[in-house]
Symmetry: C2
């Protein structure tokens, strides 16, 4: 199996944590995609994934799977023990609900803020991000505000449970965790009074499948190209 | 179990088709939500679903499940035979990928077009749809363009397979089908040269779980309130 991605970026980080949680790190060959050079917006990549995003999973039979939820469903069911996506109908339902909320309220919203209200990944990618549209920065700022509201929602939720879907770690926690990594580098940090969210984040960062990955926001050469 | 929704609206239609496909129509009590009166944006409803959308499933133990994918996962697994969400890891992966694409490319994009670039559900709901933001109509129009591109993508895809995820009907087909119902009433119709998409739509509309539901776009009293 191959995964097309770039280490340190938020959605690739989600699937790398999934692989670690399932003991599948060595089952996959990683193929680097030059996101800063907009390789994912060129025809060769769009043929594989018309959504133009990473990560992308290619199975040995050539089947292409995009979208983090779909890739997670695949890896989580390979051993018949779906610890990340739920074992009972109710577990599956709550986890998928929280997965969508983590994406919509934080992770996807941070992505829009990053690409539309900040310099994002720089000049090469800009032409693919609607620079002709006057409303783009306002839209990006609105998404940033959504992230702040989302952080409050999850802080409140986590004041009465250990993880997003209850007492067990799931794919929804991975999604929010990666979203907060991206929020950090985008300049939207978790407010100091969000104690429950911060405690959850500390707890997640200590899990064996996450530890060592939490500081991995962008590779050094990427940061250099981005002007950091 | 209870479902809070409004018959004829696109996302409620998705779950009503799921219930029919699983033989669960009579297992659920429907609680009407006045969408045109913005009942779903008031505190009593937001307490149940902070996303402020329908449908919402309430289990007998009080657990609240929002998001169509999550609700579908629940109903599809109750009998241990997940015909709509996939039985093998690969089936699950392809179905979830196509579910996200159907939502992102068409169903969610139609919703944004409908609410931001047309009069949508009318005056009462408008204050909850960012009327202060100058860029909203432009954003809505951009989403409408996304729908047209999405229709082309699915037309191309369906020229070489019977259903979105392959040869079997799945939740992704339900999602796209409901999205096209909403596109019709929003004024974005499937172009006449999209033969494969149209043939798929005819095929889906004849399935026992769908038949009789396809013309159900809005209740007569809702259409009257909307000025049709």
């Amino acid at each position: 199996m191959k995964i097309y991605d770039r280490p340190g970026f938020p959605n690739p980080a989600r699937i790398r944590i999934v692989l670690a949680a399932k003991g599948l790190d060595s089952a996959v060959e990683f193929v680097p995609v030059d996101l800063i050079g907009a390789e994912h917006k060129q025809p060769a990549y769009l043929d594989k994934n018309p959504s133009g995003v990473v990560p992308l999973l290619e199975l040995d039979d050539g089947t292409l799977i995009s979208e983090c939820t779909a890739i997670t469903e695949y890896f989580d069911h390979l051993d018949g023990n779906p610890i990340l996506t739920g074992r009972t109908p109710k577990e599956k339902a709550v986890i998928h609900m929280m997965q969508r909320r983590a994406e919509a309220y934080v992770t996807d919203a941070v992505g829009l803020y990053f690409h539309y209200a900040t310099p994002g990944l720089g000049a090469v990618l800009q032409p693919y991000k609607s620079p002709e549209w006057d409303g783009r920065t306002v839209m990006g700022q609105r998404e940033g505000e959504k992230v702040r509201i989302g952080m409050r929602y999850f802080d409140d939720l986590l004041s009465s449970r250990s993880y997003l879907a209850g007492e067990d770690f799931s794919m929804a926690d991975i999604t929010l965790f990666a979203g907060l990594m991206h929020a950090d580098v985008s300049g939207i940090t978790v407010p100091a009074d969000h104690m429950a969210l911060q405690a959850w984040r500390d707890r997640v960062s200590q899990l064996p499948c996450v530890r060592g990955r939490s500081g991995q926001a962008f590779m050094p050469e990427d940061l250099k190209r981005l002007g950091f």
